[in-house]
Amino acid sequence: MTYGPSAGQLVRPPEHHHDEPHVPVFVGARRDELDTIMSRYPTKMAALLPALWMVQDTHGWVSEGAVEEVAQVLDLTAAYVKGVLSFYTMYHQHPVGRHFVQVCTTTPCNVCGAEDVVHAFLEHTGCGELGLTSSDGRFTVIEVECLGACGFATPVMINNEFIESVTPERVARIVAEHD
């Protein structure tokens, strides 16, 4: 991943996140769930995005070990899975804060003060900088592209939670409610 004005602020990976062994995801009930999902499509490959979501919902991110597991379960190669995984920006390829804060700053929200919301989050979470995880591991804050709630500026997602109409004044309370 590269930085640069073309990229928007992408998440900067912390160092040394390969150490913990991967705990398999697709066992027991989750294996059954995956099987159900797979039955909806004529190919195993089509279950890839759903499988990656299940990994992220379980572990919070998708590790190299998870990539190998998904590849094995769906008869794909690890390189293939990685290529797809890295295309879709909602998947995390490294650990992030417990609460992953995504603030929309695309033009319709930008003209409604979205950047002030970003600064408020950076301040109140203690992250200080976009893409970094706060030292207590609670938060990571990034800017994202249009969240499709432009009439409810500024929308913010925290993990899968969608919060509409966030103003800088509301941020302190929102942060406090997420420990």
Binding site: P5, R40, A46
Partner: protein, 445 residues
């Protein structure tokens, strides 16, 4: 209903009638509001008959392309092959948030529309591809689909018709480009969301190589109404002197406007009255400066131009822009057009799939120049360079994301040139030394 505001009297609420009404979400609630009678009827009709009704209604694709829906459906022939219907709920065009409302207030309307659409194209399986960020719509659509299965509306014997209709919700994972119909199919297949070269067209070889039709949420949500009220009723909505744009359209209004929200008006509504009357006009003490009427990929209008525009496909074209997705983004006099256009370019650069040279590099280059100008470091060469890049990015790629990035740049430079020129900094000599950016990739060299 201009949710979250109450309906304006000049709106024509069809799709938005129950926005804000939580009872409309349930199966029982939807049935009480006349839901599923159209599907029941449709399942007993020949697909060609349904196609003809939709053709006669004048319904055109509401995702942005505006292709006549009935004609699109008629490309699907009873050839005995497995057909698929994809509902494009990847709504990611900046300024657009109508499909979200349809799904979270009237999920069953979409289930019904999808089921009718599937039957009309000889498909037994439909996928609703919802962008990954729409957690609430996903949850509500999954619940609605489950309710529909539980009550026999969907499944092997849909509504007792003997026909199979299967509907599955598929979650995206953060890629605007997956709203492009061929990229959507690739994404559904578990691939990178790369648009495909056409031909082959989806109706010939689409999802999993099979004949496929892709329709937008708003398009499909209109179908049950058309079947219930009749094609003539839909044809009756719109301005008299334009037979090519009929029915209602949901316009998502956002930005510097008094009452942002979704508004449903008949095609051809006067844009000036729409903005100033229905939407409440500019915020106190401010003046509207610019409007993008159809999502960020269509040309920007000045306020004067917008106020002399009619809100349908042809009316927008006549004003030098496009209806697109109907996402109305309003900029007032406090906004820095250079900064906002730079931000739009950055959006496209972030979303480029990276296949085509012009888009991959051009979106990034455009963004870098615009951000440099926005930071006061622009020079006199930049404008010609930007326009040249925009020209090289247009009409030459697999999909139109590249053109979409060029559009706000070209219309912005044309109509807000003074703002750009005001940002020019001291002119650099050509000997600028590029600063190398470091990569933060963790791959060992």
């Amino acid at each position: 209903m201009g949710y979250p505001h109450s309906s304006h009297e000049r709106e024509t609420p069809v799709l938005s009638k129950y926005f804000g009404d939580p009872d409309a979400r349930t199966l029982a609630g939807w049935r009480a509001r006349g839901g599923y009678t159209s599907l029941d009827k449709a399942l007993g009709m020949d697909p060609v008959e349904i196609q003809n009704i939709v053709k006669d209604s004048g319904l055109r694709g509401r995702g942005g392309a505006g292709f006549p829906t009935g004609i699109k459906w008629s490309f699907m022939k009873p050839d005995g092959k497995t057909h698929y219907l994809c509902c494009n709920a990847d709504e990611s065009e900046p300024g657009t948030f109508k499909d979200r409302e349809i799904m979270r207030w009237t999920p069953h309307a979409l289930v019904e529309g999808v089921a009718i659409g599937a039957h009309a194209i000889y498909a037994e399986t439909a996928y609703i591809y919802i962008r990954g960020e729409y957690s609430e719509p996903i949850r509500l659509m999954q619940a609605a689909v489950a309710e529909a299965y539980a009550s026999g509306i969907l499944g092997a014997n849909a509504m007792g018709s003997g026909k199979r209709v299967d509907v599955h919700v598929h979650r995206g994972a953060g890629a605007y480009i997956c709203g492009e119909e061929t990229a959507l199919m690739n994404s559904l297949e578990g691939r990178r969301g790369n648009p495909r070269i056409k031909p082959p067209f989806p109706a010939v070889a689409g999802l999993f190589g099979q004949p496929t039709t892709i329709n937008n949420v708003e398009t499909l949500a209109a179908v049950p109404h058309i079947l219930r009220e009749g094609a003539e009723w839909y044809q009756g909505l719109g301005r008299e002197d334009n037979p090519r744009s009929r029915g209602t359209k949901l316009f998502s209004v956002c930005g510097n406007i008094a009452r942002p929200g979704n508004y449903e008006v008949t095609m051809g509504f006067p844009f000036g009255e729409f903005l100033n009357d229905l939407c409440g006009g500019a915020l106190p003490g401010r003046e509207i400066k610019a409007v993008i009427p159809g999502g960020s990929s269509v040309p920007i209008l000045t306020r004067e131009e917008a106020e002399n525009t009619l809100m349908d496909y042809e009316g927008m074209v006549a004003s030098g822009t496009m209806l697109g997705s109907g996402g109305v983004i309003v900029f007032d006099d406090r906004q820095d057009m250079v900064k906002q256009i730079a931000r739009l370019a950055r959006f496209y650069a972030h979303e480029s799939c990276a296949q085509c040279s012009q888009c991959r590099e051009g979106t990034a280059w455009t963004t870098r120049i615009l951000e440099r100008i926005s930071a006061g470091q622009g020079n006199a060469r930049d404008f010609d360079t930007l326009l040249s890049i925009a020209d090289n990015m247009s009409g030459k790629t697999i999909c139109v994301l590249s053109d979409s990035c060029a559009t706000p740049v070209v219309s912005g430079l044309k109509k807000f040139r003074a703002e750009f020129e005001a940002k020019l900094g001291p002119d650099h000599s050509r000997g600028v030394v590029p600063v190398l950016l470091t990569s933060n990739r963790t791959v060992a060299a």
